[in-house]
Amino acid sequence: MPDIVQMTGIRKDFTGVRALDGVDFTLKAGEIHAVMGENGAGKSTLIKVLTGVHAPDAGRILLDGRPVRFHSPAGAQAAGISTVYQEVNLTDNLSVAENLFAGREPRLGPFINFRAMRRKAKALLDDIGIDLNVAAPLSSYSIAMQQLVAISRAVDIKAKVLILDEPTSSLDRDEVAVLLGVMRRLAAEGVAMVFISHFLDQVYEIADRMTVLRNGRLIGSWDTADLGENALIGHMLGREAAELEQIERVAAAHHVEDETPLAEAKGLGRKGSIAPFDLAIRRGEVVGLAGLLGSGRTETARLLAGADRADAGTLEFDGKRLTGHNPRTAAARGIAFCPENRKTEGLVGDLTVGENMILAMQAARGWARSVPPARRERLVAEFIAKLGIRPADPDMPVKNLSGGNQQKVLLARWLLIEPRLLILDEPTRGIDVGAKADIQRLVAELSAEGMSVLFVSAELDEVTRLSDRIAVLRDRELIDVLETESERTHERIVDTIVARGGHE
């Protein structure tokens, strides 16, 4: 097979960080090539260098054997490289259809033909298997849907190279299946693809070859068939495979002794986002929320966290009914909330890692009582170490961190205040295997120490493994709570959801 893309000796420095150091990368026609590595290994940077977002500090890029140097993604796109970047990069003030066709709208003379555009958008989404109102603003859909829209856009550009940087991070099984189907079809049509994902099963299912990066350096490239899972993890993390044994086994075996609920929602609901529901979370218990995309998990979490105002029902915490529940009072009572969209709702990009971590604690103390510098430095250093945040520099603006490390900073912010109820909405999204295991272990440990956790994840495995009880949602309604161990299985959850379906 001919090489479509050939990158040699790529180096990229950011202030204080060498993100890529002499990396070689080759993409062959028609192959699906996975780029693997820990958070911050340099995967996204490699993509951005290839597509002209960043200029490389050294190295050559050949496209179809000819040297190229793009100055913007538009240039790369024109040359046949279509990309879905890691964070959803669409403009949510425009409609779905406009986002799909921005820059290449069907036109009538100088004017955009909106009717044709909507029709084409509909057809495109249909083809991929998504049913949306294409005239609605993109902002009215969940992140997962937005991600699918971004993918559809990239696919429709009909490029010879398609790059997908963690496209599946917020998708659940069905959606992933849809995506992988599309990828296979494109591969058959001869499109070369770069696929970045932290889900090893997906990678093994779809990729022909793998390239592993670590710390900005190339570790090697292998055919998928030649590289076992443990060996891959070993290459990624640079640790011995034996060390990693326990990663899959998380200590979920603990018992909830205290039966009195720490938090109890009764008929809590909000018009237009989630139907009134009852849910109790006991001390030291991990409650998982399972459901399909858009089923209302986020909304449930937000209501409990006080991020949104409920318009029905009551919420009791520690036996007391909460009135005027909002993020501030919630934090004061020990309810912590890591929102699902870290870029827009979680982090303050311009502030440093340390400042972002200290934010909730400082908010609770009020502005006048600043956290003493010594204590602050100690805490920040402690959590940077504990969560393995890299680079371990508390003074780095958080926006310069890789996605996974940003997630850890957000988590650290809330762990710092030692909450009693920790609400995690997709905390493991975009996190590498090692870190994911770290976070899962952390959740297990925290709950063993008596902290209650509400855990939302698109990965059913993760939810079933960690949770003591699982609330199942569908169509913005809480339809069941699975209590016993035997109930908390993958199949049972799927059955519950399907059983309530009926129509479709």
Binding site: A78, T83, T91, A102, S140, S142, L293, E504
Partner: protein, 341 residues
Amino acid sequence: MSTVQLTERPARSTLFDGLSRYLPISVTVALLVALYLGGVANYPNFGNSQVVAKLFIDNAPLLVIAVGMTFVILSGGIDLSVGSVMAFSTMACAWLTVDAGIAAPVALVLVLAFGTGWGLFIGAVIHRFEVQPFIATLVGLFLFRGLTLQISDTDVSMREIGFFQWGMTHVDFGNVREGGFWLPYLSFVAIAVVIIAFAVLHYTRFGRSVYAVGGSESSALLMGLAVARTKIGVYAVSGFCAALAGVLAAFATKSANPLANVGAELDAIAAVVIGGTLLTGGAGFVLGTLAGVLVWGLLNTLIAFQGNLSSWWARIAMGVLLLAFILLQRVLARSGEKRRA
């Protein structure tokens, strides 16, 4: 083909999807009408159709710069140079025709080209060197006021140039003395600018990328849109509009005054924002800007008809009316959103 069909209802109900973003502007228009009716009820002669026509005569240049400003603000920028560029353009018309003796149509083209060129230049500086728009265009505000004063520090008359008679030539609608009204050609130019701007913003690729860039510049870049062209383009549009407004002012008064239009950029920004466009970019309508300019003009007309306010009470009244308007707009739009939620 996949077998699963993924579906999701948008968070907002579909019936209103298309309409929801028109809510702020509908509220603005409704309040505008209410304001007008209030004037009619309270002041004799306010119902005279010329009162409405007058809004399009006296505010024609403001309307034009506000339209240009709408492009810039929608893209997430701001242009403080418009007032000075406008004054400079009027002065340049006078200078080219009266002093340099260049044929008026040629002068007009030169002035418009210069305004556009300035916009291109400052847009390029903003984009290429990542200079904050506020400061880059503030340079324009100072620079063109200075250049205007250097051309002439007194007012200059252009009445001898026959060409400039064109702008105030009337078209009468009905008998002006009996309830009809008249509009000069320059009002039609302003209205045409609004219509063209509307078409460009909503129905062309350039227009949509203005919204996209305003929504998120980095996303637009990563989506492969022509961000540079768009960002530079909006300043060119604004520069053109400012120059055109200057030309309209030349038509309107057939004179140039070095101190004209001081603070016009703020009037324009105010009109745009009152019209519901978000200063952060990405959301708003050029028709909202039209409404904003009309609100601005109508408030001034109301105060003029009241006629017994001292200078300071007139200012206070303007502030209070504006406040009431904005609060109402805000409250109505909010409760409208809630009702639909």
